[in-house]
């Protein structure tokens, strides 16, 4: 046996990072989690704490002033925040989602222009792909971008946009050549301050209520041509490449909320007494907890493995990412539901956090590609 | 009979209560010789005599006010050399412990801090300590040199014990280290008229349940009706409802009064650590499951905004 066998465990540094974020999350984010859900308000305190500690967008490369964190570190940040508040975890998660197209495909000037303020905490990034009539069938989008001299004019409606209205920067996919399907789509950076940009009313959601989800209206928004990300017609490919990496961040959220639910339920069952003893003493309860822990452990292994693949750019990343997202989100739904069950009647009330965790978990099975779409992706990319 | 040095904690001649408790303990192991330093030291003599001091050694010099800790260590070292006591007792204030530690090091003795009781023993004084997390009580003695023991407030009764209390000048020559840390200004803590938190016989504390700085008036009213000190939990202090100097708990003050009343305090370990050795504990909290009830000798599950004012009224009525 050798203590030095490093495979299949995160490094010391990853563990230290986890400890630091867990402390921060518990001290600065958790106390507000219930309120931001109850009031359906933006988690400003979480944003402030994350920005103050350089944790709002750790993935941004060092050359733009970012922390240059690897994919696993990014996952750990999101996981630990989600463990106490899923709504807040959308800050680092969507910052990555929105900015990754620029990092993957943008010109050096574009990266410098937008990654620098993102790293400084001076502007958040959102991601605009879906439309009212184009969800799973993203390539069926209708938002168009028409060339006009040195500019492009964008017009259309995007739907289900996280942090819309709060973010300063929006990566928008639009059709530049209607004669083609996915190969006629290009990606652009749109700024909140561009004329013609406006937002719809916040959606009234089942969960992640603290995260504003709104439509983005682009009414003949004129932007300079250098705001295009990559070459014309490559937008969809960039979007798909982005999702290969960012599905893993959703898996991270799912992992976090599942862990948070398990941690809470574990504590509760030791305190709650029925029939003269803590309910933790009953085998039925113990079996439930065992299953929850086992599933989380498997989800974590899959997610971290995918994160490592993302960092290396492995050939099977597409499959790995989809598998992690699909599996972890299903686990999150099961575990949080079980957590409510373990807390019984109390778990069903807003006085305890598990019902919020259950409501928050649901979205991870839906966004960034429904789990049905994930299966399509996996089937097409079987290892 | 052997003599026991007792360091006098006083403000301009007014002796603080824990010193009087120390005299009670000193009398168990020998004849108390008090050491009073600084401005108006001689004024302490009559009070000290009334509580058992055989002699009162005094020294007034500006150094005691102008420089931190070391002048007092110099003086106590001189007193030890002059008296050759069986033990040195010092109140367990933050400063008291620093003085005691440096003294012990200088005289090559062992030190016991935060004793809650001191008894005479065959081989020297035996100190009782309540080990933090308070699951154990230990008795210890110093095995090398003249025992230096610091004692927590509320560890002994204050007993009237008329004694001679002869005032004598203490000869002190200050060491090189004396002027190391200058006190450039001092602002006395504003007297609230209430007893000092760590010394008070009764403490009334408010926690998260008090829900606001203005509401602390209710806690203060109860405290005043009982002649008590006011405490606050970390949650209340962090929220800005009461000063940190009143915080009771792991990162605040540790108290062990005769009576501790916790209102709107859940009783998490952070807070418990600071008050669980109180003789009698009373709790008022809306939540029947709050851990504080496990500690309480008497608990009321209810809204503190109803119970505390009602209690205050009752106390006032009964006191007439």
């Amino acid at each position: 046996m050798s203590q030095d066998f490093d495979l299949y465990r995160p490094s010391e540094e990853h563990n230290m990072l986890r400890d630091a974020i867990r402390s921060l999350a518990e001290a600065k984010i958790a106390p507000y989690a219930a309120a931001i859900d109850e009031e359906a308000r933006f988690p400003q305190e979480a944003l402030d704490a994350l920005v103050a500690n350089d944790l709002h967008a750790v993935h941004v490369p060092e050359e733009y002033g970012g922390a240059g964190a690897d994919a696993l570190a990014t996952v750990i940040v999101i996981e630990e925040v989600a463990r106490v508040c899923v709504s807040s975890s959308l800050i680092p998660a969507v910052n990555k989602l929105g900015s990754l197209p620029v990092i993957l495909s943008g010109s050096e000037e574009l990266k410098k222009k937008y990654m620098t303020p993102l790293a400084q905490g001076e502007g958040m990034f959102s991601y605009c792909l879906s439309e009212p009539d184009a969800g799973s069938d993203a390539a069926g989008m209708k938002t168009k971008a028409v060339r006009d001299g040195e500019d492009w004019i964008l017009d259309g409606v995007k739907r289900w946009i996280t942090n819309a209205g709060v973010s300063d920067y929006y990566t928008v996919m639009a059709v530049t050549d209607p004669t083609k399907r996915s190969k006629g789509i290009s990606a652009f950076v749109v700024e909140k301050s561009d004329e013609g940009v406006s937002f719809g009313a916040p959606e009234k959601k089942l969960g992640i209520k603290g995260s504003p989800t709104r439509e983005v209206y682009l009414d003949n928004v004129r932007i300079p041509a250098d705001r295009m990300i990559g070459k014309e017609g490559t937008g969809f490919a960039t979007a798909m490449q982005t999702l290969d990496h960012t599905r893993i961040t959703i898996a991270a959220q799912a992992l976090g909320v599942a862990q948070g639910a398990l941690d809470y339920a574990k504590g509760y069952v030791q305190e709650r007494k029925q029939f003269g003893k803590p309910i933790a003493d009953f085998q039925g309860i113990q079996f439930m907890l065992a299953d929850m822990a086992m599933k989380i452990s498997a989800a974590r292994a899959l997610t971290y493995q995918a994160a490592a693949a993302s960092e290396r750019g492995d050939k099977d990343l597409t499959f790995q990412g989809a598998a992690a997202k699909c599996f972890a989100s299903d686990v999150a739904m099961e575990v949080t539901t079980d957590a409510v069950q373990l807390l019984g009647g109390y778990g069903y009330t807003r006085d305890y956090p598990v019902e919020r965790m259950m409501r928050d978990a649901k979205i991870t099975q839906i966004y960034e590609g429904t789990n049905q779409v994930q299966r399509i992706v996996m089937a097409r990319n079987l290892p | 009979m052997a003599e026991v040095l007792v360091y006098v904690d006083h403000v301009d001649g007014a002796v603080r209560r824990p010193t009087l408790e120390l005299l009670t303990l000193a009398r168990r192991i020998g004849e108390p010789v008090a050491v009073a330093l600084g401005s108006n030291a001689e004024k302490t003599a009559s009070t000290l005599a009334g509580h058992g001091a055989l002699r009162v050694l005094t020294h007034e010099a500006s150094e005691y006010a102008d420089y931190l800790v070391v002048p007092k260590v110099d003086a106590l070292q001189a007193a030890v050399e002059a008296v050759s006591p069986a033990a040195v007792l010092i109140p367990s204030s933050a400063e008291g412990k620093e003085i005691a530690a440096r003294l012990a090091l200088r005289i090559g003795s062992g030190i016991i801090t935060d004793a809650v009781d001191v008894e005479a023993g065959d081989e020297g004084p035996v100190a009782t300590q309540s080990v933090f997390a308070a699951s154990f009580t230990t008795t210890s003695r110093v095995s090398k040199g003249t025992p230096v023991i610091t004692v927590k407030p509320n560890s002994a009764a204050v007993e009237a014990a008329p004694a001679v209390g002869a005032v004598e000048a203490l000869n002190v020559s200050f060491s090189d280290q004396t002027t190391g840390t200058k006190v450039t200004s001092r602002t006395p803590r504003e007297s609230t008229g209430r007893p000092e938190l760590t010394e008070a016989a009764i403490v009334v504390s408010g926690g998260r349940g008090v829900n606001g700085v203005e509401n602390f008036a209710i806690i203060e009213a109860l405290a005043d009706s009982l002649g008590a000190a006011v405490g606050a939990s970390r949650a209340a202090v962090d929220a800005g409802w009461y000063p940190h100097t009143n915080q009771v708990g792991q990162t605040g003050k540790s108290v062990s009064p005769q009576l501790y009343i916790a209102s709107g305090i859940s009783g998490a370990i952070q807070h418990r650590a600071g008050m669980q050795t109180s003789k009698t504990i009373v709790a008022i909290n809306k939540d029947a499951e709050a851990p504080i009830f496990e500690l309480a000798d008497y608990g009321v599950v209810g809204d503190l905004f109803d119970v505390v004012p009602a209690l205050t009224e009752e106390v006032k009525t009964r006191k007439g």
Binding site: M16 | S109, T138, T139, G180, T181, T184, R186, T251, A310
Partner: protein
């Protein structure tokens, strides 16, 4: 170059003590984090080149505390470790710290403050006594300028402003300012920072001078306190205040 060693959590085990909650597995104790934070702030506010060394005494896993200090921004770390240290009291600990501090070289030592409950509260004073330098302790505010350290000490009866010339020993309270969280960059940078290990022979300390045998106090007995039995708990239905008053009267408080 100025050196600012930072005496962090030294650990000692006595046979009959339960382990302190804050002292689990060599984690940098909350109170010592404030010391690291103040050392970092002093370093940031001073124009000169300041080097911060984190110092701890303890078994192997005390290295975790050092790593945390490094990831917060300390420049290097010193770990004093020796089996013979087991059972050392505050007096002995101060000897080891004083020798280590002298060997590391310093202008200022910043230490955390245990709660007013623990014997740890006296170690900075003892180290100052041994090194023959000023102690500026229990500060809720501290700053260094031109070779002078200044601070504010909030005592029981008064607030004092203190001043001393370097070299000096300083201790800070939890009121001195929130400690920063280590950043990702800080954690990665910590990997490359040096951690030096010393044992008693490196410090010229004889095992006879420390450890259980040399303790200047001996424990005579240890008894488990009986758990406090829960007393009476009543529900307030309008009479709560009165019932409470009855209880207090029965206990002769009123």
């Amino acid at each position: 170059m100025k050196y600012v060693p930072d005496a962090t959590g030294d650990r000692h085990f006595a046979d009959d003590l339960t382990v302190d909650r804050d002292d689990v597995d060599g984690l940098l104790s909350e109170l010592d984090e404030y010391a690291v934070e103040q050392a970092l702030q002093i370093s940031e506010n001073t124009g000169d080149d300041v080097e911060i060394t984190a110092l701890t005494i303890g078994p192997e896993n005390a290295k975790d505390a050092l790593r945390k200090a490094l990831s917060m921004g300390a420049d290097k770390a010193v770990h004093v470790e020796d089996d013979d240290l087991h059972g050392t009291d505050a007096i002995g600990t101060s000897l080891v710290l004083a020798k280590a501090i002298e060997k590391a070289g310093y202008d200022l030592v910043v230490s955390g403050m245990a709660s007013t409950d623990g014997t740890m509260g006296v170690v900075p004073a003892l180290v100052a006594e041994r090194l023959g330098v000023p102690q500026v302790t229990l500060l809720s505010e501290v700053s260094v300028e031109d070779g002078t350290v200044k601070g504010r000490r909030d005592g029981d009866t008064a607030t004092e402003y203190l001043e001393a010339q370097l070299p000096a020993i300083v201790s800070v309270t939890d009121q001195s300012g929130e400690a920063r969280y280590p950043s990702f960059k800080g954690i990665m940078a910590a990997k490359k920072k040096p951690v030096i290990s010393w044992d008693l022979s490196d410090l010229d300390i004889d095992a006879k001078e420390i450890g259980l045998e040399q303790a200047h106090t001996s424990v005579e007995s240890a008894a488990q306190r009986p758990a406090r039995a829960t007393g009476t708990v009543v529900k307030d239905e309008g009479e709560g205040g009165k019932q409470l008053a009855e209880f207090l009267a029965s206990q002769k408080f009123i």
